[in-house]
């Protein structure tokens, strides 16, 4: 699919979701896999927008790219925020605690990693590249 470039603001979450769902449909993913991929990309995009750009006072874009081959849908999100490797984040260790005692952060990355078959990170020049891989056929 043609890549999609959107500004790093929360208003971009909607076009991002539409692009992910179009890619999921093109790859023939079922409802559950499509939803989980959308959730995964949404959570990472939200982190980049809020922490990487807005809180850091930086402007930047997100570049999304879906590639489909015989076996997998490979979905890439690139941003120009400071180095952030979500694969280095530990799973939240408070999933059993009462809600009022739980940490606000960390849930998004946890859901993103759990939502896809493979979750990868690369640093490329001044860019973070987060890669989501979903198997097209489960057997």
């Amino acid at each position: 699919m043609e890549p999609l470039t959107v500004p790093g603001t929360l208003d971009s979450l909607k076009p991002i979701a539409e692009y992910v769902m179009a890619a999921a449909a093109a790859a023939g993913l079922d409802k559950k896999a499509s939803y989980n991929l959308r959730l995964a990309v949404d959570e990472i995009a939200t982190n980049v927008i809020i922490h990487g750009y807005e809180e850091a006072g930086r402007d930047g874009n997100l570049v999304l790219q879906a590639e489909i081959d015989d076996r997998v849908l490979k979905f890439t999100v690139e941003d120009t925020a400071t180095f952030f490797d979500a694969t280095q984040k530990a799973d939240p260790d408070d999933l059993d605690l009462p809600l009022e005692k739980r940490q606000i952060g960390g849930l998004g990355v946890y859901l993103a990693i759990k939502g896809v078959d493979k979750f990868l990170y690369e640093r490329s020049g001044d860019r973070n590249r987060t890669i989501f891989i979903v198997n097209r056929f489960t057997s």
Partner: protein
């Protein structure tokens, strides 16, 4: 589908009906309704989720906020949540902190 959150309060029970897609861009609307409910003295929050098609972690964070705002003893009911929304609630352990029901029936 656009996100919508509408609040109704009845004595100490606040009911918020959620529909559409709840992500980081729409969660502030949900949070504002919870804040309103807490200000009105609600001690129980009933979330009608039948028409909520999508929920990101931003929605879960509002549930944590609810407990902080209304008190740890405030009950949160999650009513009629769709399969994938429920899946997220279960995966993150939030099922232990809320009361999950198909149809609302106060305990």
């Amino acid at each position: 589908m656009a996100f919508n959150a509408t609040l109704e309060t009845n004595n100490d029970t606040a009911t918020i009906t959620l529909s559409g897609e709840l992500d980081a861009s729409t969660a502030p609307q949900f949070k504002a309704e919870v804040e309103k409910a807490a200000t009105q003295g609600a001690k129980r929050l009933v979330l009608m989720m039948q028409d909520l098609e999508y929920m990101a972690s931003a929605g879960l964070r509002v549930l944590i906020f609810t407990k902080q705002k209304m008190g740890a003893s405030a009950d949160i009911y999650v009513v009629g949540a769709q399969e994938m929304v429920l899946d997220t609630i279960n995966k993150t352990g939030f099922n232990q902190g809320v009361i999950i029901q198909d149809e609302y029936s106060p305990l």
